[in-house]
Symmetry: C2
Subunit: 336 residues, 2 copies
DNA sequence: GCTACGACCCAAATCGATTTGCATTTTGTG
DNA sequence: CACAAAATGCAAATCGATTTGGGTCGTAGC
């Protein structure tokens, strides 16, 4: 007799059901036919004993962990929890476990985070961080771990990409500002080498060019994708003379920081200066003035990533990489 | 010769270093002394081959997964990502992997989520959801998984608890409103049976009693801890006559929803009616009017949970359960 | 009634690490 | 210099599931 406290193993189930472990495994996996009566008996015992296969033993044998990892640059940016929620929407029902890692931890550089995650042998990775280098991505690709990225340069060997068309998004914002008659439109960017920064900046420049406006380097500032970055950058840009009359921010957090500064300087928004964001986090509609921004469908992006990953993990898709572009939408509120 | 594509196993390392697998394992775990020269040699080989122990094999043998799970009620409530970030702050450096599960998924009831997480044999669980029943908790406790809860009824056999003193927090808010001369103070609660709802309501009632005020059932409404819940509840409460002149909301999201309603009704805040929140999520300071609320130290709560869990996992603490109460702080802004 | 053929089940090898019990050096001491 | 004690290495058992190659049993066909 087994002692009570222990978790039953597959042998215990087999014994209780009067069959072999092989048979139990087969009713679990369905890889070989099992008679209806036997199956029913085994399932009853499983239920009764509360048996759950040991995931370590299973993945040791099958080389699959049934878990995927999400790596984000900043959990305090509400955009990323939404992506996580979207992933969950899809992953949960397939039994996958989602782990979330914040690469913004003071002490944790991305290469280390990637090593950490790879060491855990997850089946797939959703890389939502913009600071990834080709080496980081290459390391993931080489490990055989399925990879989906949020944005970034598209390269076949680097896996699928899901993104919104940020260039057009910023372009739409800037065009909107031009339509409204703003003259000196400045751009307040995130980390200068990050891919989203580059493509958003591109949208800014394209819109200006199309309108026949000059692109003035003194009206472009790079910092970080945070509220603090917005504060710092807005101070710089708003001290230019003549002062810009519009601040296009590369995301909503930056815009929130910029509004901190306009408030502090006593500038009226959008009277003295327009401020726009990007992402449409919930705070964008709550802040005063409500932010003009572009809706970045975070949750849907998460769901899409999950689907791509599941496709590949199921072996149903093994061709070249795909890039999926989701719709964005300009949302005009009170700040422009 | 091993083929190139394969990941090296411990035997490959041993062979390359000219020692036995036992020795390699010992330099990895340090459970038995290994000569400095041998250790250096082995470590060099590990580095060269990029060897990482297979976590499945390891946890199969050791019965430890080096991972912990966080279960939250709602990832879109910014409070919970902050808790997750706090957990990461501490867990990461100990090599633990954090998985996050949102129990608010439409199709996922808590018991199922708990089963799912337990089936993965995580070492510890941080249960941050308020809908947990005693059965849920009991199931976790029985499984031997270490448990830390965010709030809830304190019971020795149910593991440690980390919380802020919500009763006092709401009490502080209500007292503040009384001081400011508000007369008809209503309470807009979250899920009625949730523990945080009960203890926050308690703070409301205590403050009224202490001030010699009556507790009027028609001024108390329960809904959900969401913006939508706030909208719905505020509509009800603000239609009472005479109309309450203050709405104490059980969290910030509810308060945000309440402000949606006051705006819609054309009521001035705090002129016609005061609105207060709880948690101090970032949006609380951004919204207009800025919310009077109570700071709930989410990130620190997360860190504390992680520390308690690590204590127990390291076997350094095996006594009765602890309840840790973190400081809250009343933050008076413009909405009261 | 006997052979074939399925249908079903079993024993044993395997995944990759950890961990004993022993055997074999080294080191230290009188 | 010898001998005890400490340091270090090895072989083999073990964790719990998956997965083959082989049986064994029952049934269908003649």
């Amino acid at each position: 007799m087994k002692e009570a406290g222990r978790r039953p193993d597959i042998a215990a189930v087999a014994a209780a059901a009067g069959v072999s472990v092989t048979t139990v495994s087969h009713v679990l996996s369905g890889r070989r036919p099992v008679s209806a009566r036997t199956r029913a008996k085994v399932e009853a015992v499983i239920e009764e004993l509360g048996y759950r296969p040991n995931p370590s033993a299973r993945s040791l044998r099958t080389d699959r962990s049934e878990s995927i990892a999400l790596i984000v640059p900043d959990l305090t940016n509400p955009f990323y929890p939404l992506v996580a929620a979207g992933l969950q929407d899809v992953l949960m029902s397939s039994g996958y476990l989602l782990s979330v890692t914040d690469a913004a931890l003071p002490s944790r550089a991305l290469p280390e985070v990637v090593r950490h995650v790879l060491a855990r042998r997850v089946d797939g990775i959703v890389l939502a961080t913009y600071g990834a280098t080709d080496q980081d991505i290459d390391k993931i690709a080489k490990s055989g771990t399925k990879l989906v990225r949020l944005g970034g340069r598209f390269r076949a060997e680097f896996g699928d990409i899901v993104r919104a068309d940020d260039t057009s998004g910023v372009h739409d914002i800037v065009s909107h500002l031009i339509d409204r008659g703003y003259q000196r439109i400045a751009f307040l960017n995130g980390e200068p080498h990050a891919h989203p920064s580059q493509i958003r900046l591109e949208g800014y420049e394209r819109a200006l060019r199309e309108a026949g406006r000059p692109i003035l380097p003194e009206l472009i500032h790079s910092g970080t994708f945070t509220r603090a970055g917005g504060v710092e950058g807005a101070k710089v840009l708003l001290s230019r003379s003549p002062r810009p009359d519009a601040l296009v921010c590369a995301n909503d957090l930056i815009a929130v920081g910029a509004l901190d500064v306009t408030r502090q300087l006593g500038l009226s928004v959008p009277g003295d200066v327009a401020v726009t964001g990007y992402d449409d986090i919930e705070a964008a509609s709550l802040i005063t003035p409500a932010l003009t921004t572009v809706l970045n469908p975070a949750r849907e992006i998460g769901r899409t990533c999950a689907r791509l990953l599941l496709d590949r993990l199921a072996g149903e898709y093994d061709d070249t990489a795909r890039e999926i572009v989701l719709a964005h939408r300009l949302i005009v509120r009170d700040s422009s």
